[in-house]
C-alpha cells in the first residue's frame, strides 16, 4: 500500500521549490522566474500521475500515505485522494503554471517572493485536497491563507489593507468553528481520521452522531465553507479581495480557493452530518438560489471589471452548492426520477470549469490592467480595434462564462439545472435565470469594453496581447473547449466516488437508525 509517495511529492515539491525560489533572490533577474516555472511545470507533470494511475472503478481512497505525526494526539500524516479530490488537485497544479507565467514581467517588486508565495500556496492547497487527517487538513487550510494574505497585502491595490483584513477575518471567523467541530469529533471517534484507513476502524465518516450534535457540527462547517465558497450573505469579502489582489492572486482565489469550500461540503458536511444536511438542505438551497439570482442582478451594475467577474463567480458557485444539496429532495421523490448523482457531479464539473473560466477572465482583465492601469469598464471601449487577438479570447471566455454549449461553462450548469428540475420545478426555474442574467452581465461588459469604436487615445495606443499572454489564454481556452466538447473523462473519474457518497448520505447516521436520512428529521 505504501508505494511511491506521489501525493507527498505533489505537496512538497512546490513548497520546497518555493523556498528555493525565495533563496534565489532578485539579484539575477530571471533566475527566480525560470526556477518557479520549472517547479510549477514539474509539479503539474507529477500530479498527472494521479490521473493516469487513478482507478475510477473504486470509491476507496487511492495513493494513500499514512504515518504518525503527533502521536500524543493521534495525529497522522495521512493522505489520499478519491474521484472528488483528484480532479481538483490537477486543476490546482494546472492553473498555478499560468499564474506563474502571467506574473512574468508584470511583477517588478520582488518577483522571487511573489513566485515563491504562489508555489508554496500551491503545495498547501494540494495538501488541503489530499489530507485525510482532520488536523493535517486544518493546518493546510489555515496555512494556505498566509501566502494569499501576503500576496494581496504586498502586491495588491491601494485599498489592500481593508481587503486583506476583511478577507482574513471572514475566513478565520468561519474556520474557528470548524476547528471546534473537528476536536469534538475527535473526542467522539477517538481519531482524527476523516476516512477510515482500514474498513471497520473508527473515523469521522463512520461516526453516528445525534440530531443536535449533527446540527451543530453542520452549522460549524457551514460557517467555514460558506465563507470560502462564498455563499450569500457571507460573500462580500470576495469582491473586495479580488479588486485589490494582483492578477495572479485573483486567479488562484477564484480558480482554486473557492473550490475548497465546495470540497469541504462533500468531504465533511454531507457524509458526517447527513441527517442535519437533510434537515437543513432548504437553507443551502435558498442561499444558493439567492446567489444565482440576486448576485446576477448585482453583477449587472458593476462598473469595475474585476468586481463584475467576482460577483459572477459567486453566482456560478451558487450552482455548485445547489447541485450538492438538492440530492435530499430528489431522494424523497420516486426513485425513477434520478438518484441525486447528477446534481453533485454537476456541481463538481462546475467547480473545475469555473476554475478555468474565471481564471481566464481575471487574466484577461489583468492583460488590460497591465496596459491601462484601470479596471473601470468606462475606461475602455473598442479594444478589439487595437487588440483583435485578445478581443477574440475575451469574447470566447465571456461566452464560456455565459454557459455556451461547447464550452465547459455549459456542462455543469446544464447538469445542475437538469438535476434541480428533478427536485422541484421552481428550483430549476430560478437556476435557469442564469441563462439570461449570466449572458446579460457578461456580454454587456464585453460590448462596452471590447466592441464599439475606439473610445479614447489610450485605447488607440494599446498593443495586442504578446506571445506569453496568448499562450496563457490559449491554453485555458483549450481546456475550456475540451471539457465542453467531451466532459466524459472528467465525469467518469468522479462517478463511482459520487455514487458512493450518495449511498452514504442516503442512509441515516443517527445512533441506532437504519432508515433513509430524510425520513429521520425535517424541520
Amino acid at each position: 500500500m505504501q508505494s511511491f509517495p506521489l501525493l507527498s511529492l505533489t505537496i512538497w515539491l512546490p513548497i520546497i521549490g518555493g523556498i528555493a525560489v525565495l533563496g534565489s533572490g532578485d539579484k539575477a533577474p530571471g533566475v527566480s522566474k525560470w526556477l518557479a516555472l520549472a517547479f510549477a511545470v514539474i509539479t503539474f507533470l507529477v500530479s498527472l500521475g494521479l490521473w493516469t494511475g487513478f482507478d475510477a472503478g473504486t470509491a476507496a481512497m487511492q495513493f494513500v500515505e499514512r504515518s504518525p505525526w503527533i502521536e500524543t494526539f493521534d495525529v497522522y500524516y495521512y493522505l489520499g485522494v478519491d474521484g472528488i479530490s483528484m480532479p481538483l488537485i490537477i486543476l490546482t497544479t494546472f492553473v498555478t503554471i499560468f499564474v506563474i507565467i502571467a506574473g512574468w514581467e508584470v511583477i517588478q517588486y520582488k518577483p522571487s517572493h511573489y513566485m515563491a508565495a504562489f508555489l508554496i500556496m500551491e503545495g498547501l492547497m494540494v495538501g488541503v485536497f489530499s489530507a485525510l487527517d482532520a488536523i493535517l487538513f486544518y493546518v493546510f487550510w489555515e496555512a494556505m491563507l498566509i501566502p494569499m494574505f501576503i500576496v494581496i497585502g504586498v502586491w495588491g491595490g491601494p485599498n489592500r489593507v481593508y481587503a486583506t483584513i476583511k478577507f482574513f477575518l471572514f475566513t478565520f471567523f468561519g474556520s474557528v468553528f470548524m476547528l471546534v467541530a473537528l476536536i469534538y469529533m475527535y473526542f467522539q471517534a477517538g481519531t482524527f481520521e476523516i476516512v477510515a484507513s482500514q474498513p471497520g476502524l473508527p473515523s469521522f465518516h463512520g461516526l453516528r452522531l445525534g440530531k443536535t450534535e449533527q446540527i451543530l457540527i453542520f452549522i460549524a462547517f457551514l460557517l467555514a465553507f460558506a465563507v470560502k465558497v462564498p455563499m450569500w450573505p457571507v460573500h462580500t469579502w470576495l469582491p473586495d479581495a479580488h479588486v485589490e489582489a494582483p492578477t495572479g492572486g485573483s486567479v488562484i482565489l477564484a480558480a482554486i480557493m473557492l473550490k475548497i469550500g465546495g470540497y469541504g461540503f462533500l468531504r465533511f458536511s454531507l457524509p458526517i452530518a447527513p441527517d442535519a444536511s437533510a434537515a437543513l438542505d432548504w437553507l443551502i438551497i435558498v442561499m444558493s438560489l439567492i446567489a444565482v439570482v440576486y448576485i446576477g442582478f448585482v453583477a449587472l451594475v458593476q462598473q469595475d471589471m474585476k468586481k463584475l467577474i467576482a460577483y459572477s463567480s459567486i453566482a456560478h458557485m451558487g450552482f455548485v452548492t445547489l447541485g450538492f444539496f438538492i440530492v435530499f429532495t430528489i431522494l424523497t421523490k420516486d426513485t425513477a426520477t434520478g438518484s441525486g448523482v447528477l446534481g453533485i457531479s454537476g456541481g463538481m464539473v462546475q467547480m473545475v470549469s469555473h476554475g478555468f473560466i474565471s481564471g481566464a477572465l481575471f487574466l484577461c482583465v489583468g492583460v488590460l490592467y497591465d496596459r491601462l492601469h484601470s479596471r473601470e469598464i468606462s475606461a475602455y471601449g473598442g479594444v478589439v480595434n487595437t487588440m483583435p487577438l485578445f478581443g477574440a479570447f475575451m469574447v470566447f471566455f465571456a461566452m464560456a462564462n455565459a454557459g455556451l454549449p461547447g464550452t465547459s461553462g455549459f456542462v455543469g450548469e446544464f447538469m445542475v439545472i437538469l438535476a434541480s428540475f428533478q427536485a422541484d420545478f421552481w428550483y430549476a426555474f430560478l437556476a435557469a435565470t442564469t441563462l439570461i442574467l449570466g449572458a446579460a452581465y457578461t456580454l454587456w461588459m464585453v460590448k462596452r469594453v471590447i466592441f464599439g469604436p475606439v473610445a479614447n487615445d489610450k485605447v488607440a495606443a494599446l498593443k495586442d496581447a504578446n506571445g506569453r499572454e496568448l499562450f496563457v489564454l490559449g491554453s485555458l481556452a483549450a481546456a475550456v473547449l475540451v471539457l465542453g466538447i467531451w466532459p466524459a473523462p472528467l465525469v467518469e473519474v468522479m462517478d463511482v466516488t459520487i455514487q458512493n457518497l450518495v449511498q452514504q448520505i442516503a442512509v441515516s447516521k443517527l445512533p441506532g437508525a437504519v432508515g433513509p436520512t430524510v425520513a429521520a428529521v425535517r424541520f
Binding site: W237, L300, S339, V341, G346, G406, F410, Q422, F429, F451
Partner: protein, 666 residues
C-alpha cells in the same frame, strides 16, 4: 452512410477553421475557396442523400457519433438521425448556404471601407466573415441532424453564437453591437424555457434520445407535474410550451420577435442565410421534429397556433410602415414565420416545413436581391432614395420580382402552394383558436401583397430619386452576385410545383412526423387533392388569391401610379391615419416597453440590491458594523485600563466587598 453524414457536417467546419485561424496566411481567395469547397461538398452530399431517399429507398439512419458523457444513468450523446425531414433540411440549408457563400465574394469585396482605417479588427474581416458563415453552416447542420435533445441545444446555441458574431460583425457601429447583444439576450429568454423543457424531458423520460422519448411519450400523456402544493400542470403541455418558448426566441415569434428587425444591422448575406432562410426556421423545424410530443397536447397546439397567427398578421402590418429595404423584408420574414408556426399549431407540420422550404428559397432571394440593390446604391438602404432601378439592374429586377411573386403566393409559384396549404389547413383545424388564426392569416395575404409590391414599386419603378452621383454609378452587380440570385429564383418558382405531392399529401414525412388521426388536417385536404393543376385552379376561386390580387392592385395604384406623379403621396396618406401609422412606426411599443421595463428595470434591481443589500446591510451593518461595535467596545473598555495604581486598588476593594456581600447574603 455514417461517413457521408459526418462529412456533410465536418466539411464546413474544416473550412471555417482554416479560414478563421489561417485567414491571414491563405488570403481572401484562399478563404472563400476553402469555405466554398467545404459547403459545396456538403451541398452535393446532401443532394445525394435526398436522391437516396427519393429513388433508392434509403433507410432511416439513427446512430451515435460519440458519447458526450454518462451521468446518473442517462447517456448524453452526440449522434445523427437522418430521415426524410432531415434530408430535406440539410439540402435546403447547404444549398442556400452555398449560394450565400458565392454571393458574399461580391458583397464583401469592398469590406475595408466599412472599417476605420487604423482598426485592426477590420483586417482580414473578409476571411473572418467566411469563417463565420461556414461555422454557421456547420452548427445549423448539426442542429437539424441531431438525434437527441442535447445536440439540438448545442446547435441551437451555436447558431445563436454565430448570429451574435455576425450581427455585430461591424463592431465599430454602435447600432450593430446594440443589436447583437439584444438578439442574444432575447434568444436567451427563449432558451430559458427551452432548457427547462429539456430538463423536464430528461427527468421523466430518463433519456434525451429522440426516438426513445417519442416511443415513451404516449405512456406519459396523462402525467401531471407538481407545481404548487396540490396544483399541477399536464406534463406534455408543460414540455411542449417550454420547448416552444425556445422556438419563439429563435424563430422570432411575438413577443420575443424584437431582435429580428434589429439583426438587419449585420451584413446582408447573413440576413439572407441566418435571419431568413435557416436559423430562424430552427424553431419551426424543432416543433415539427417534436410532433409526437405536440400531438399529445392540444393546449400546446392552440398556444402555438395563436402565437403564430398573431405574429403573421401584426408583424406584416409593421412592414407597411418601414422605409429601410432590409427591414421591410425582415418584417415580411417575421410574418412568414408566423404562417409556418400557425401551420404547426394546426398539426399541419408538413405544411409548415413545406413553407419553410419554399420560403428559404424566395426569402433568401429577396434578401440577396435587396443586397444587390444596396451594393449598387452604395449602401444606402432607404427606399425613399431609390426608384426606377429596374432599368439599371435587369437581373436583380427580374429575380426580385420573382421572389416577390413567390412571396405573395402568385398561383403556380412556390409560395402559392405552401401558403395556400397552410391557410386551408388552419381552416380545417378544430383546435381552439383556429378560427382566429384563419381570419388573421387570410387577411394577412392582402397585407403581404401590399407591403411586397409597395417595396417593389418604390424601389424598381417610378422616378429615380437617388442623387446624381449614385445614379451615375448605378449598374448591375457582378456575376458573382447575380448568378446566385438566378439560382435561387429557379427553385422559388418551381419547387412548390415539384414537391407538393410527396411532401404535403404523400408519405414523405411518414417516418419523421406523427399526426394523431383527429388532428390530421392534411389528410383531410389530401382527399380533395387532384394534382397541381387542380390545386392552382382551386386556388383561383379562393379568398386568398383575390386578397393577394387586391393587395397588388392597391400597391400598384398607390405606389406606382400615384407615387410616380407625386412622391409625397405616401406621406399624405399616412397623415390621414396618423394614429395607425404611429402605432406601426413604434412597432406597437414593444421595444420601448422592453427597454424601460426589463433592461432599465434589471439595472434598477441590480443597483438596489447592490447598494441596499450588499453595501448597506451586509457590509454596512453586519461586517463593518460589527467591526465598529468591537472597536467602540474596545474604546470603552480601554478607559478602564488607566494605568493608575489607585484605580486598580479601588476596583479590587470594591470587588472584594461585592463578593463578600454575595457570600454573606446567600
Amino acid at each position: 452512410m455514417a461517413n457521408i453524414y459526418l462529412t456533410i457536417v465536418l466539411a464546413p467546419l474544416i473550412g471555417a477553421i482554416v479560414a478563421g485561424f489561417f485567414g491571414a496566411r491563405i488570403g481572401r481567395a484562399g478563404a472563400h475557396w476553402m469555405t466554398i469547397l467545404g459547403v459545396g461538398i456538403s451541398t452535393l452530399l446532401s443532394l445525394y442523400v435526398v436522391k437516396r431517399f427519393v429513388f433508392d429507398g434509403q433507410e432511416v439512419f439513427n446512430e451515435p457519433v460519440y458519447t458526450w458523457m454518462v451521468a446518473d444513468g442517462i447517456s448524453f450523446q452526440i449522434g445523427f438521425l437522418v430521415d426524410k425531414l432531415t434530408a430535406l433540411m440539410i439540402a435546403v440549408v447547404s444549398f442556400v448556404s452555398l449560394m450565400v457563400h458565392i454571393y458574399t465574394i461580391g458583397y464583401m469585396a469592398d469590406d475595408e471601407h466599412n472599417w476605420p482605417k487604423e482598426s485592426l479588427a477590420g483586417r482580414n474581416g473578409y476571411q473572418r466573415f467566411f469563417s463565420y458563415i461556414s461555422l454557421f453552416t456547420f452548427s445549423m447542420l448539426m442542429l437539424v441532424m441531431s438525434n437527441n435533445f442535447l445536440q439540438l441545444f448545442f446547435g441551437w446555441e451555436a447558431v445563436g453564437l454565430v448570429s451574435y458574431l455576425l450581427i455585430g460583425f461591424w463592431s465599430v457601429r454602435e447600432s450593430a453591437i446594440f443589436a447583437n447583444l439584444k438578439a442574444f439576450l432575447v434568444n436567451r429568454v427563449g432558451d430559458f424555457g427551452f432548457i427547462l423543457g429539456i430538463a423536464a424531458v430528461a427527468m421523466y423520460f430518463q433519456s434525451l434520445d429522440y426516438l426513445t422519448v417519442f416511443g415513451k411519450a404516449p405512456e406519459l400523456a396523462d402525467t401531471e407535474l407538481q407545481i404548487f402544493g396540490d396544483s399541477s400542470w399536464n406534463l406534455m403541455t408543460t414540455i411542449c410550451v417550454l420547448l416552444f418558448i425556445g422556438a419563439m426566441g429563435k424563430s422570432a415569434q411575438v413577443p420575443l420577435h424584437v431582435w429580428l428587425p434589429d439583426s438587419m444591422e449585420g451584413p446582408t448575406p447573413i440576413s439572407a442565410l441566418i435571419h431568413a432562410a435557416t436559423m430562424v426556421t430552427a424553431g419551426i423545424f424543432m416543433v415539427a421534429r417534436m410532433s409526437p410530443l405536440y400531438e399529445l397536447s392540444e393546449t400546446a397546439l392552440s398556444f402555438v397556433m395563436v402565437i403564430g397567427a398573431t405574429t403573421a398578421f401584426f408583424m406584416g402590418l409593421i412592414g407597411l410602415a418601414q422605409n429601410d429595404i432590409k427591414r421591410v423584408v425582415a418584417y415580411s420574414t417575421l410574418s412568414q414565420l408566423g404562417y409556418m408556426t400557425a401551420a404547426l399549431g394546426a398539426s399541419a407540420y408538413a405544411a409548415g416545413i413545406f413553407h419553410l422550404m419554399t420560403h428559404a428559397f424566395f426569402k433568401a432571394l429577396l434578401f440577396l436581391a435587396a443586397g444587390s440593390v444596396i451594393i449598387a446604391m452604395h449602401h444606402d438602404q432607404d427606399i425613399r432614395n431609390m426608384g426606377g432601378i429596374r432599368k439599371y439592374m435587369p437581373y436583380t429586377w427580374i429575380t426580385f420580382l420573382i421572389g416577390t411573386l413567390a412571396l405573395i403566393g402568385f398561383p403556380g409559384f412556390s409560395g402559392f402552394f405552401s401558403k395556400d396549404a397552410i391557410i386551408e389547413a388552419v381552416h380545417a383545424s378544430q383546435v381552439a383558436g383556429s378560427g382566429y388564426a384563419w381570419v388573421l392569416l387570410t387577411i394577412g395575404v392582402f397585407i403581404t401583397a401590399l407591403y411586397s409590391f409597395r417595396l417593389y414599386f418604390i424601389v424598381f419603378h417610378g422616378k429615380e430619386r437617388m442623387d446624381e452621383h449614385t445614379r451615375h454609378h448605378l449598374h448591375e452587380t457582378p456575376a458573382v452576385v447575380w448568378v446566385p440570385l438566378v439560382l435561387l429564383a429557379i427553385p422559388s418558382v418551381v419547387i412548390g410545383w415539384i414537391t407538393i405531392e410527396p411532401v404535403l399529401f404523400g408519405d414523405w414525412f411518414k417516418d419523421a412526423i406523427q399526426v394523431a388521426p383527429e388532428h390530421d388536417v392534411l389528410a383531410h385536404l389530401g382527399e380533395h387533392y387532384h394534382g397541381q393543376w387542380a390545386f392552382v385552379l382551386h386556388g383561383l376561386t379562393g379568398a386568398p388569391f383575390w386578397l393577394a390580387l387586391a393587395g397588388f392592385g392597391v400597391a400598384a395604384l398607390v405606389f406606382w401610379h400615384w407615387f410616380t406623379k407625386d412622391p409625397r403621396i405616401e406621406e399624405k396618406l399616412r397623415n390621414k391615419v396618423a394614429w395607425l401609422y404611429q402605432v406601426l412606426d413604434r412597432k406597437y411599443g414593444f421595444d420601448e416597453f422592453y427597454q424601460r421595463f426589463f433592461a432599465a428595470g434589471s439595472r434598477g434591481i441590480g443597483r438596489a440590491l447592490w447598494a441596499g443589500g450588499d453595501r448597506a446591510v451586509i457590509d454596512g451593518v453586519l461586517v463593518d458594523g460589527s467591526a465598529r461595535t468591537v472597536g467602540r467596545f474596545a474604546q470603552l473598555v480601554r478607559k478602564l485600563q488607566t494605568g493608575r495604581l489607585y484605580n486598580y486598588a479601588i476596583a479590587m476593594i470594591l470587588g472584594l466587598v461585592v463578593l463578600q456581600a454575595i457570600f454573606v447574603i446567600f
